[in-house]
Amino acid sequence: MYKYDNYDQQMVDTRVEEFRDQVRRRLSGELSEEQFRPLRLQNGLYLQLHAYMLRVAVPYGTLSSAQMRLLGDIADKYDRGYGHFTTRQNIQYNWIKLEETPDLLADLAAVEMHAIQTSGNCIRNISSDQYAGAAADEIIDPRPYAELLRQWSSFHPEFLTLPRKFKIAVIASETDRAAMRLHDIGIKMVRNDAGEIGAQFYVGGGMGRTPMIGPMIREFVPLDQLITYSEACLRVYNRYGRRDNKYKARIKILVHELGKEEYTRQVEEEFQHLLSQGIEPPIAELERIKTYFVDPAYDASASDELDLSDPDFRLWVERNTEAHKQAGYVIATVSLKPVGGIPGDASADQIRLMADLARDYSFDELRVTHAQNIVFPHVRKADLYKVWQALNAAELGTPNLDTIGDIIACPGLDYCSLANARSIPVAQKISERFAAKQEEIGEMKLKISGCINACGHHHAGHIGILGVDRKGKENYQLLLGGSEGADTSLGQITGPGFDEDGIVNAVEKATEVYLDKREDGERFLDTYRRIGMAPFKEALYG
């Protein structure tokens, strides 16, 4: 994975000093809260219901074990002993004190980490495929391109006061494991007819109040124009994105209102102009970054055999591991969704255990997934059993990847000042209700958001739940049929909402319809797409 050179290190160190000075000026009263707010947001610091929340960046979801270990230590030193992994591959701490934040950021900088631009109206953490560099189906590792874009977007002087937040995802496979089409800019690395690698740009996707699937704006951007093209997309947005209404300020609204053709025309015009400005790094820079993303030193003699005689181990292997491109290895997902637990949360001890296991058994590397789990990307099959045993002993061995127990949920009203409803108790109840039926139901992506901002990605859930405030009471809407893959679709609302117990019963009714009606090999999503909403509506509302 990428390692900082002196320049990168100096940039994060400078940022810490800048923020330390901004905190000083805030605490002395020189800066009002209104003036300070955008500054602290661009260092990931939110003022939430109970305390400050800090969102630490995990660039394209990749971490070393030393970094993971420090994240565990931070949970102990600055927080209440746990952290929360998010749907954008970052980690959040909920109980931070403002005056301790500069020191916290300095601790992060010492292991090449930061909280730069994880909030605010700027370009946020660039996300990617959690199986990058290990998956058999990628055409190339997408992360070097994400790293090039990370540096380009960090402290970009023209784009720090955009109309609204800006989220970019980069993938390099047909299977979209990063919800790429639901980003402000989604980039898919592709190969053209001449065999050259280039970037396919999708602009104007997003969730929130007005979910939209990003249209393709450019089929192929050559690698030596990647920054220039991105800059053109952003400049058009900075100049013409709406600033009159916070809920209409994302680029998806601009693309929708101009139309894809007109937005594309403006981008291409700006791009032609920018080509003359010398803003593109040389290809040598991309090549330099790529040297950090070569394959690890695989054991070429690693056995492809796996003893599955332990039935619990077997279940976990079947559920939570994925074929690796290298014989003798697997990609292993650590579920942060224990039955009845809070999705995405991990204690400091659990975080440090995962760090140690990654150091010893996964070439020192971990990934955070946008489904709020952790991945060990390169585990030798020969080591898998002891890894699982260690995970299991720490309540990290839940075999529920992509099943109904693998719930994605935002923090909700328990933590978040934007929320209308609690999401965590709903997640816990569903997790407990369906623990025994998980295998029978099979693949299920269930996602819960506690408000319309959709941080739980409910529009992209096979089953989605949206918590709203209805006349002062929590009310939960049920959506069916969303998907974030290459076949991206947005969930449809079933009808009137339910209270907290009602929504759990409603989910059960929906799964019963599926179990009753499914045909060979169909997932819930497939059955829904085949039979449509009517049978579900009938079961739910009679």
């Binding site: 320049y7 003036q35 102009h273 010398g278 040389p282």
Partner: protein, 143 residues
């Protein structure tokens, strides 16, 4: 109208009142114009040789359109004064400088020590812009 508090030019400041972009087209003897966030700064491109001063207004520091306006004016070759006016804060200064601003007339005067620290904060930069600073990628790969 606020005083220019910081200026990075050797020539004499222009004291002519800045006219609006709309009015500028008709006023052949105007040498100063003010660009509002909603203006298209490219409308000035045919007239840059007439201009000695372009003010770019930030009515709210959260409205970042002025950064693009300044930068694209420099990209078009304008080498007169580009002055930031309005809600100019200490923490915007280095970004504005990188986008081509060389004069600053904040509504509320800024603490000079804080401003100096802000201008000098970043020893290196990741992007190539109009300020002529060599970005990190160029330093990594000397031509």
């Amino acid at each position: 109208m606020s005083d220019v508090q910081f200026r990075f030019r050797a020539d004499e400041p222009v004291s002519d009142p800045a006219v609006t972009v709309d009015a500028f087209a008709d006023q052949t003897n105007a040498t100063a114009v003010r660009v509002e966030p909603g203006d298209d700064a490219r409308e000035l491109l045919p007239h840059l040789d007439r201009l000695r001063l372009i003010e770019v207004n930030f009515p709210a520091f959260t409205d970042g359109r002025g950064y693009s306006s300044a930068r694209l004016l420099r990209e078009a070759g304008f080498d007169g004064e580009i002055r930031a006016v309005g809600e100019v804060t200490v923490d915007m200064l280095s970004h504005m400088r990188r986008c081509g601003f060389d004069a600053f007339a904040p509504e509320q005067p800024l603490n000079p020590a804080d401003a100096e620290a802000a201008f000098d904060r970043w020893a290196d930069v990741y992007q190539a812009t109009v300020d002529g600073r060599q970005p990190i990628w160029a330093k990594r790969h000397p031509a």
